[in-house]
Amino acid sequence: MKAEKLNHKNNSRNFFNSLRVGAFLATRDIKRANKWTTILIIFIMTLTFLNLVVVSGILVGLIEGAVSAVGDRYLGDVFISNLREKTYIEQSQNIISAAKNFPGVESVTARYIEGGTVESNYKINKRRPDDLDKNVPTSIAGIDPVAEDRVTHISEALIEGEYLNEDDYDQVIIGAMLIKKYLGFESPSFTTLDQAEIGDKIKVVVGGNTREVKIKGILKSKVDEVDRRVFFVDKQLRGLIGRYDYNVDEIVLRLKPDADPIAIKNALIKSGFSKYARIQTREDAEPKFLKDIKQTFALLGSVISSIGLIAAAITIFIIIFVNAITRRRFIGIMKGIGVTSTAVEFSYVLQSVFYAAFGTIIGIVLVYAVLIPYFNNNPIDFPFSDGILVATLSGTFIRAIILFVSTVIAGYIPARIVVKQNTLDAILGR
């Protein structure tokens, strides 16, 4: 009867008491632990969290920077181009007028694009065959400088010289990838002008016409499609290529911040313009290789982060194990006086959680208050993009949870190993 009563008491001594005592022990242990040890552990957890978020964030940010540059400087929010079977967009002016009237559209720019060549240094004496200047094949673009800049802020990408004015004639902006010193490498597939400086004259052959024009500016947007173009004011190029019907080759729409590109795209299609042009959102038009690289880099970042995570879990494991093993006798005494194993284990798990939580909180503050603003203001200058740090809230939350769970497991296992040892052996130090 008494045994049953005791059994009942066992059952009724709820789990809550163990958690309460675990919390009681953990708070005292943390409060009275060596301050520098605690700081060091939290520092390790912070570094681990940063490793989890920043490594993959930078890798993804490299590509995100490229994707964002393509959207900002080239594709806009909605990109309209010619149908495959056509060389330009029919009904261009109707499409432009309609697009301008959509409520979500902020600005529109249209581009004339024509294949051509450029040549520099053609006036100097050529003594050797190597000195023969190259005709560099390129795309010649005709833009309305004001409209283009409103949509793509292309003037901000000038690295030398000045941007075009509407009245400029025989003056061009040239993409940096057409100039040897800016390309940075030599390749048979990337022929470049050996020398081209601001104010130099270059020969442009387009639409069967040859014009000698002055370089007014050099542009480096880190978008290949833009940086391998030569930009004329649209009025002049229209004359050079004989495009008097005002049909263009690219129409780019910049939308208001709250506008939905898909809705605008659908509205244009519904208006019947898909018969004359290919209408795509920025995402549709993004180069596929960028999407593939983005996924690959995200995976690579996760692999690198996982290694850091394992290292942090092992660190926590060792810290807790050393702590528990050196306090083995006290753990035995606690069990001897009736403190449950659950309470002791919970105290160690809580300590791990404390380290992980503090490390994560400091890491989050560093990421969102320091690193992201810093990289936004000072992007990493990669040849193909301005690298930023990409850390979405959901991604950060998931990484925080992963770190948290890993830490809990890493704290629990060593505590369990030590706690499950025989009570009397622990007390007597056997």
Binding site: K2, A3, L6, N7, K9, N10, R13, N14, N17, S18, R20, V21, F24, L25, R28, D29, R32, A33, R329, F330, I333, M334, K335, G336, I337, G338, V339, T340, A343, T423, L424, I427
Partner: protein, 225 residues
């Protein structure tokens, strides 16, 4: 009768084969009794205390605590019984270094489900009782050996256990401090507390109602008989 142990055998495996620490010991302890277990080192006195105090399981034999056959209880039930019914005082003080005197005494009370405020009051009462009213918030590192052992006594009595088990409670103390500890035991005994104490000092054992002498795992002397 509060404890009845029948034919307790405890054997260990060693490099030399099986070693019998207890060879069929019978012990009965009455409620309110102060029992001292004495003997030389290796006589089996501490081993007997661990069996009676549910810290270890005998190889054979039965132990009854208030008619409950504790040999049949699960580990969890034994832990619960140690918490609620028994109190322990170990050698080397055995109080937790990261907890203050009050917190050390509070720990088992919280484990029993007492609220923090009541547990603290009860812990302070126990510490006052052993003369540590002015050292409530001191950490063990700030207490002398005698004070630490008194904290251990306060922890053992804080939850009003039915039996207190003390394993060489004066082993690491000087004579003067040992006398203070023994005095505390005598006062507890006067209040009706059942105490089972292991000591190798005949002089200290003499304060008990009854003395059992062990040698080579067998009772060779029982002052009651």
């Amino acid at each position: 009768m509060i404890i009845s142990a029948k034919k307790i055998v405890k054997k260990f495996k060693s490099g030399l084969g099986e070693l019998y620490a207890l060879k069929g010991v019978d012990v009965e302890v009455q409620k309110g009794e102060f029992l001292a277990i004495t003997g030389r080192s290796g006589s089996g006195k501490s081993t007997l205390l661990y069996q009676l105090g549910l810290l270890d399981r005998p190889t054979s034999g039965d132990i009854f605590v208030e008619d409950i056959n504790v040999s049949t209880l699960s580990d969890i039930e034994r832990t619960n019984m140690r918490l609620t019914e028994l109190g322990y005082i170990f050698q080397d003080y055995a109080i937790l270094p990261s907890l203050t005197a009050t917190e050390n005494v509070t720990l088992p009370l919280l484990m029993m489900g007492m609220d923090v405020k009541s547990a603290k009051i009860k812990a302070e009462t126990a510490l006052n009782k052993v003369g540590l009213g002015s050292r409530l918030n001191n950490l063990p590192s700030q207490l002398s050996g005698g004070e630490q052992q008194r904290v251990a006594i306060a922890r053992a009595i804080g939850h009003d256990p039915k039996i207190i088990f003390a394993d060489e409670p004066t082993a690491n103390l000087d004579h003067e401090t040992s006398q203070l500890i023994l005095k505390a035991f005598m006062e507890l005994h006067k209040e009706g507390q059942t105490i089972v104490m292991v000591t190798h000092e005949e002089e200290y054992a003499a304060i008990a109602d009854r003395v059992i002498g062990l040698s080579d795992g067998e009772i060779i002397k029982d002052s009651n008989r």
